[in-house]
Subunit: 401 residues, 3 copies
């Protein structure tokens, strides 16, 4: 497994291919590299192409296949991850939105600020960077220095902005690190100027991928930032009896959710089910790292997320066990705050403030675990972080803590 604490900066010998760099006039429509070209015993490949037709027209995708795990990075959609495959098992979920949707077709303002949902079908999609969470009115400072009330749309803009710089990076020494890097700008004159620099890496035959992000405030004045990793799982990891495991310190239901009982167990697909969400604070180890898991009914399949509670202190569990057609899905959502409207989060001092030029580091490692032994081993790691601590369960909906 990739060590989530290991910086990717330690790679010394690597091959780098720039696929897009708008400022330098570089754009490569189609490209591939594989273990055939860089001598190694293990089979791997990275392949870039552009989709044509329908609402996916002009969407660039990059498929990284490490020999066991493959996943599809989408530069055109803010460097999200569309879907993956681990030893034949699907990673992601079946959204009612069938195909990848180019940001061109997304009007975030539509349907009262819920337009984001018209393109929501990724395995991992970042929410942010200026705001995350439910649509809501908030006060911003406009060009004249005056306060202005504006409508912030669901989960912000970043998933619908294409990357301006995209690179592939391959480590020349075994185990070959395979990575896709990108830079996405969420910019406006007289508004936020946030730079997301991401590196999404795996190694040959690994069961993990690591998302390492840096969000920089490019303005010369302080500004706010919010970041949430919306990691979504359907079948086969989500099924009746799938269980959520994490070193929960404190938990409370979201306002739409009435109870915390059995919050950690998932039901079968159920037509008309109303989504439930739970806000949590998770414990970390000595260095602040924690692990949250989904384990299927018979304990033979699991996925885990590793991340730092210092970087991502708020965790939301999303249970949307509707019918398969309507998007049966579990969301594991580590974030800088809870997904309430930004104004509400600011009042509770959970919106991140960045000084001029300040950079905020955050990241998530996603791993897949197959077989009872391996699953049990990772459960043990989660339990070790929890230690003897019993979670504080708040039974009434709150806006977080």
């Amino acid at each position: 497994m990739l060590n989530p604490k290991k910086s990717t900066n330690t790679i010394e010998r690597s091959f780098v291919k720039t696929l897009t760099d708008v400022g330098r006039g570089i754009y490569v429509p189609r490209w591939a590299i594989s273990s055939n070209e860089i001598g190694t015993g293990d089979r791997w490949c990275i392949e870039k192409c552009r989709i044509h037709g329908g609402t996916s027209d002009s969407v660039d995708i990059i498929t990284v296949d490490n020999g066991k795990l493959s996943f599809v990075v989408v530069p055109t959609r803010g460097m999200g991850i569309w879907k993956g495959d681990y030893q034949g098992l699907f990673l992601g979920w079946q959204s009612p939105v069938k195909n990848l949707v180019h940001p061109h077709y997304v009007d975030l303002e539509a349907r009262g600020g819920l337009g984001w949902l018209q393109a929501f079908n990724e395995w991992v999609v970042r929410c942010g960077l200026s705001n995350i969470g439910d649509p809501g009115v908030d006060t911003v400072i406009d060009n004249t220095g005056k306060e202005k009330e504006v409508m912030l749309t669901l989960h912000g803009r970043i998933a619908n902005i294409p990357a301006s710089i995209v690179k592939a990076r391959i480590g020349l020494d075994p185990p070959h690190e395979l990575g896709v890097e990108g830079v996405v700008y969420e910019q406006s004159m007289f508004g936020p100027n946030l730079e997301l620099t991401t590196s999404i890496t795996t190694t040959s035959r690994s069961n993990s991928l690591r998302i390492s992000d840096v969000v920089g405030n490019l303005r010369s004045v302080p500004d706010e930032m919010q970041l949430l990793y919306h990691c979504n799982f359907g079948s086969p990891f989500l099924e009746e009896g799938t269980r959520f495991l994490a070193p929960v310190q404190r938990i409370a239901p979201y306002w739409t959710t009435k109870v915390t009982e059995n919050f950690d167990v998932f039901g079968p697909p159920e037509s008309g089910f109303i989504e439930q969400a739970y806000f949590m604070r998770l414990l970390g180890d000595d260095e602040g790292y924690t692990k949250a898991m989904l384990v299927n009914g018979d304990g033979t399949k699991a996925v885990s997320l590793s991340f730092s509670v210092k970087e991502l202190p708020c965790f939301t569990l999303w249970k949307n066990t509707v019918s398969i057609e309507d998007g049966y899905v579990a969301g594991l959502e580590p974030a800088t705050s809870f997904p309430n409207p930004r104004r509400s989060e600011r009042e509770r001092k959970r919106v991140t403030n960045l000084r001029p030029g300040e950079r905020y580091h955050a990241g998530v490692t996603l791993s897949i675990h197959l077989g009872k032994d391996e699953v049990q081993k990772v459960r043990g790691e989660t339990e070790k972080i929890r230690g003897e601590v019993e979670p504080v369960v708040i039974k009434e909906p709150v806006l977080g803590f």
Copy 2:
């Protein structure tokens, strides 16, 4: 003439070319087939290309030419029909919007929900599928299961969504059926998931084309659907003295329109003319089929629409005899409901409800008739449907009946 009652499913021997299938990674930018390749005495062709530049950039069009009638299907704009030509006569109208507009450039929310008008220039454009009609506030159910008031924009989304699947189909036996098929998804997580499957067909040297649509509710819960075929005619079929003919059972003016007198006769282009609209119920024959027509002043040119009043029970006649520059046009609009705001139509029980998985069939046959004899013959068919029935004329504006 194509028999509107004949299912296209009866074609047994046909050649099919998939031009777009996003899910399968198929996209053909340029393609053509003609009678030269499939042996036949009659000349016909189907040609697909992509337009570049301006607001039409990246719009795909497919021209079907049966030897006498040609028309241009626009997969990028929800499988509408841009314009046509019948023996040298133009089919369509001169909108002030000159070129085909890619959905990218259309912000449906603009100008208070009237953004749809910035791209409105087709001969036949579908309105729907979640809503048709004037912009208006309506209540929807959001992700939390709660009611939410949202603004629905003019005539809905379907005309600004590209088809995800596009095929050409050619019947191998005379009279060769020439068809374009497409699938368009109007989808959102926590929102409508409607699938439009359309087949637009003609036969070699026919004076008709047939639009056969199926709208499916892909959700596992019931949902609403609205569908209107906005069929628009300018010169030479519309001119001073052009007359509307149909077996009208009941008619009333739209709220902007004061009188029903002479509703069936069109005036010359008139700068500053304010649009008039009339809501109607039409009679059908024993099987429910009806026919509505425009006949020019001297009775030598006509167009007709044939459709089932069971499928499309509400008919709107749109008289917009403004100046040529501002869009001199007559609209014949068979639909599932009247184009009032959806909330108003729901109150009057005219919004179609679809059960989970339910499919709704609808279609229109457009035909062109030249020469007094042919025109007179079709008038006779219309009159036969009417029989002895005198229309009920409601003189005050109503919201329909």
Copy 3:
């Protein structure tokens, strides 16, 4: 220097290349011509290409280089001018929005009507044509002939509409005139139908370029029009001590700006600086031509704008001396009106009314002046227009005069 009064219609022998004509199916993705092909002693070239990737994907640009002055016209963004270079000096400014943004990514309605700012980074960008200025509610006439309140977004649509026709034109006789011509349509059914025809020209080794525009009302009814040339300068023409010079007849601060003292001197970049703006009426010469300048601290570098106060009677000076990162910039903005919300301008009778078919001519010549002598000479021209007139200084913010 180009004579701003000289019509480009006097060119008799020229080579014309059509690069885009949507109506005629013409689109040339990549093209170039240079002095190598058309015999001349002086080096010049015109080059057209399309940018790929990021938010610039599918943006067409045309670079005109006259041997001393080069500039980049952007057909995809309403024929604005992205940036330029004069003898190695940068023309334009460093917007926080790094790359050219395709209109597809711009939602003008976002952030309370300030979405325009998400793409604002050009040297010269037109505001208009239906409205310019701050977002604001205004009354329009809708399809039913009734008044409707709509939100007009910041600075209108024209900068985010691609040209439907684009041509390059090269004069065959020395001094070779080098030009880019374009036609942009701002159209809607039941709404404005304004046609911008622009010609952007320079001559071999000139220090000037001329923008000559014609805005036509294509409707058969009268309509309103507003046009502002947002000409923006950063380093090296803007620096601490840069001075604004023009034959000011009357000046008043914009509502956000408190004082007129030292309005003509620019400060250094200052983090957190709140923009200032000044409304002015400028004097013209006998034919109505005026000249506004920026002169740097030591008087060795200057830019000037020449235009007719008959065509563009309202002038706004924009001082936005924020930090370099946040967009240190001076705006010289000749216009048909002041950039207040349209309703406010209409009340003050400053919105231009166009009769059916009427065409409005306007234009600006931008020139660069280097060296004390040349700068001093142009200052003299400005002072000559002013003569003995002392400006009327209004100290309290007003909405113009």
